[in-house]
Symmetry: D2
Subunit: 337 residues, 4 copies
């Protein structure tokens, strides 16, 4: 089988470089183009790529990408910009896996409420598949537009899916307390990510207003078949990468930990990237991998779910490759194990 | 006024060295003895003290301490050991401020349930004052035995006190999600605190079993005048010091954020070490200080309290000095501002 | 004695906030003004100051400072800007302790060569005292303009002073390999100080071109009474603060370690902020202090000097207070122990 | 071609887990046994391996390894222990790549002087190949016993090889100032690697006595064809992994930077794992890779070489796989790109 020809839109950020490293190891993918206006050569943007990928950055030009035979484009642009760049690619028959938030929320009003921006591409939004393979896997084969999921939402959705699918917890008031490494904030220098500011410190941010809230709720509502609402609080940790979510839910009936562990084991049995753990996971054990580690506990009548992942791999570029595998018919683990 | 003659029991740990640094700046305290078997000179144990305190460590000998005129002893020994060492000091008329957990829980059965150890000093336990000055301040003047509070509990108790004192939240099911720097684990090398294990990682530990749980509940029940129960989950962060607690409570009636901010402002008006913040606090802004920073929010019908402190100062040695000030009649800010 | 009225020019950076914290503890200083255009209140710039200093920032106005009775101004502005702001202060009779590099190099040509900028205030440069108290202490009493020394140079100058003063090492080709925490780079966000870039990484920068090179050479040449030249290589470490310099020199005759230790002990006997150590110092043992820790070794015929300090205290704001003490006749340790 | 059957001796440390991860990706290797007495399952020792390698640890038994068809054993035991375990493996016809120091120094007297231990296996020492492929590559094909090189030495040897091979620098008094992450110290908890001790700190250790000194000198003397002696000073950095060496040498004649860059380019042209950089390398750009990044500068008449690597990959387990590739006739990049 020929390698799938791949392009990356927006090569300067952390998800792009992570994606490049993953694709370089993938036996079925070939990176043929990377767009960026910030440097001439990709190794100028990311010195770690010196000697690994010899490719010049190019300006964004859908026709040029088409002419190179690009079959799929990974979008690593910010939200807002994504929905401007993606329609001409789809028109030219290229598939798109978009790592931005632009095609994640089905309801335009919800998008506009949380992102404070008008949505300009409702047409393609209608056909976008939310790319969380463990939940929406059956829609991914051959998909034209995949909305790659957010980093935080994956811990919450997969952490809670067995419970809401089985109506074992109350669907409102679920508390999701998440802790993230700094790379989640992107590569643009800002005071809050300046080393001497965020090192040796922990703080919460976007309390009650974080844009991943409706994304979590949309997917969990799908799983539950009923509206779910959550209290989601993200925190900034002094480390490069990793997300740890501690989730507190109220069971709808008396449950035992043993029963829940069994439920989780069964639910994740055919999901190779979710690892069930007996002890609380540590983000470090997921670093550089596409694993999402989950542990479920019962404490004083509440159900606690602890979930950990690498925010740049499982949380972004790794799951994008998993989606790529699903779209093009590779085994979903290809290039990720 | 003459300086109060002070001794420190157990000079080798982090709370001891922090306490020494604070006391060296205190105009009303003089360190006359430090006990430890681990080194000859205190600067051998703590190289940072070279040139700041020229004192040899000595074995524990209550009579020798008495002979030196020691008026108050700060206990920096582990729980279990503390209750063996403290009775002979009290018998000889020295006051004690104990940083261990041995005299914090009034109910011996609760102690034995959580600490898995028999309590050997119920007599003195009966007269111990729980040393959280903002709550138990009126009992501290002249106290003979002060049980210095735990690091986590202070964020939870002070963070929730205005709410439970005013019966504004439900008293069960309160979620306390706490994040701590590694120094909270003490100075004894262990795999879980080995740099390459805990650096660049976040994990939860002692889920549902942490010993600070009953301490939080005892104090909050005192404030509420009714039993309080909490779900307390501590997490380990890759940083030296700092505790951040995110607290989720269910209001007993509709509340506005403005109303709660006003309540907190009024409650803490005469408490110089509690700073009310409009934005989420950051542990770094409390580092090296005795401040406990608090922020209260209403999110989707839940009350969120965010509280930050330095676990070694406010969480241990700073509040110990604050207790010392109260016991001996100094202004409570002396040596701490 | 009345407190000396102090103003701070440029309140937004790390040296300013560190200086404020030190001056708040100083019994002989009173901060009456802080200039900054970046925020209204000093606690908006530095949330850690909430509840510690209630002062509004003001625009730079020499007459207004004079009217407030300001006796000494600490300059925390960048080089280039400093030499524009300082002359009008000196004209109005205020003393200045300048933390920038503008008045450190006596030879304007050297300044212009390394800083690539024209020097606009040669008049005041002529009267500036280089504020390294251990070397230039006798010129500081009553000085009108003190050029506070750079962070790296202090480790190199004090580390080598006993050797060059006694002509024990060759004066050219001295290797100074320095490692610094990120706060040394200032508070302005840049990619190289963005957390996910510099965390978990070590690199060298400004190899052969760092501006502290001529400053080190000027002071060491003064001590030696002959020209000294060095190879100075700074490195960036993933930590907030601390400088560690490893210095390699060639002795002019056979020396023993014991002999050098004795020489250092004697040289630093009356210098309370230099601590001689038997083992290699660690930056952490100097954190938050004005100490500079030094260790001297002989390895295979070379002399090695290891020197550590806190770059924000000893390296900037602490030595500024030490200079303040010298200028105004306080004991040099006041407010620093 | 059938996969080579591999065993790992001593599975509990950081080099073992890194090696396992690399071998899991290697198309020509199959891990059939791991010895350790510390846990039952390899994922109990290293939770990151859960779901990636399902293998029980076994006691060390050369006959059992032989019976499993093991063709090559990677030794991840400490020095001293290695030379006890390796002879029976060689006797049974298994090849060994030993990551300890036991077979690195050809001269037993030098070993005993630096390691303070008697060498018990001089017989096999005589046939050991020092496994730095860029220098000793022609001896590796089919080697029976490979002494995998130390982490620090590789930066020094490869950084200096072009210079000493061409007699461009003086062979004595070379200064090697190295900075390492904490994982280099191994996985056994010790106070010096306890997070709150080494985090936010830099220090030097083993000044003048580090055991990698003779290893550096042996290899560089081979390259030079004349005795080389160095001053090697290791430092501990607050990060997980990465080594950065700053090397200072005195040229034997006037040299230009351009000339040296050309020399280095040519010397490393056929060495795919050495990347020549124009700017100082950063350890982070080598993390997780087998690259060793080098930059050469001329500063004030001295030659400076800056070299960076990942101490666990290039510095240990990656170069071990590179050696494995050489021994068994794979392309040396297999499994490492």
């Amino acid at each position: 089988m020929d390698k799938v020809k791949v392009a990356i839109l927006g090569g300067s950020g952390y998800t792009a470089v992570e994606l490049i490293k993953l694709l370089l190891r993938h036996p079925g993918a070939e990176i043929v183009a990377i767009t960026s206006r910030q440097a001439e050569h990709i190794a100028d943007l990311h010195p770690s790529l010196l000697g690994r990928l010899d490719l010049r950055c190019e300006p964004f030009d859908p026709d040029a990408l088409k002419a190179k035979g690009v079959q799929v484009v990974f979008g690593c642009l910010p939200h807002g910009t994504s929905m401007e760049s993606i329609p001409p690619l789809l028109e030219r028959g290229m598939r798109v896996i978009d790592l931005s938030a632009d095609y994640r929320l089905r309801d335009v009003k919800v998008y506009e409420q949380w992102y404070k921006e008008t949505h300009h591409d409702q047409k393609n939004l209608a056909q976008a598949v939310y790319g969380l393979p463990e939940v929406y896997g059956d829609k991914l084969a051959g998909a034209k537009l995949v909305a790659n999921p957010g980093c935080y939402p994956q811990t919450a959705i997969l952490g809670l899916a067995p419970l809401v699918a089985n109506k074992l917890i109350e669907l409102t008031g679920i508390v999701i307390d998440s802790k993230s490494g700094v790379s989640g904030g992107g590569r643009t220098p800002k005071l809050s990510f300046h080393f001497p500011e965020c090192n040796e410190s922990v703080t919460a941010y976007a309390v009650g207003t974080h844009r991943h809230t409706p994304e979590i709720e949309q997917a969990l509502s799908d799983v539950a078949g009923a509206p779910v609402s959550v209290i989601f609080t993200p925190h900034l940790m002094p480390m490069d990468r990793g997300i740890f979510s501690t989730i507190y839910a109220t069971p709808t009936r008396a449950v035992t930990e043993a029963e829940l562990v069994e439920l989780y084991r069964s639910y994740f049995a055919d999901k190779p990237f979710v690892r069930l753990r007996t002890n609380p996971p540590a983000t470090k054990d997921t670093t550089g991998t596409n694993f999402l580690d989950v542990c479920v506990k019962v404490v004083r009548g509440k159900v606690l779910v602890l979930a950990a992942e690498d925010n740049l791999v499982r949380g972004a570029s790794g799951v994008a490759v998993q989606n790529f595998n699903r779209v093009f018919g590779f085994d979903e683990r290809t290039g990720l194990m």
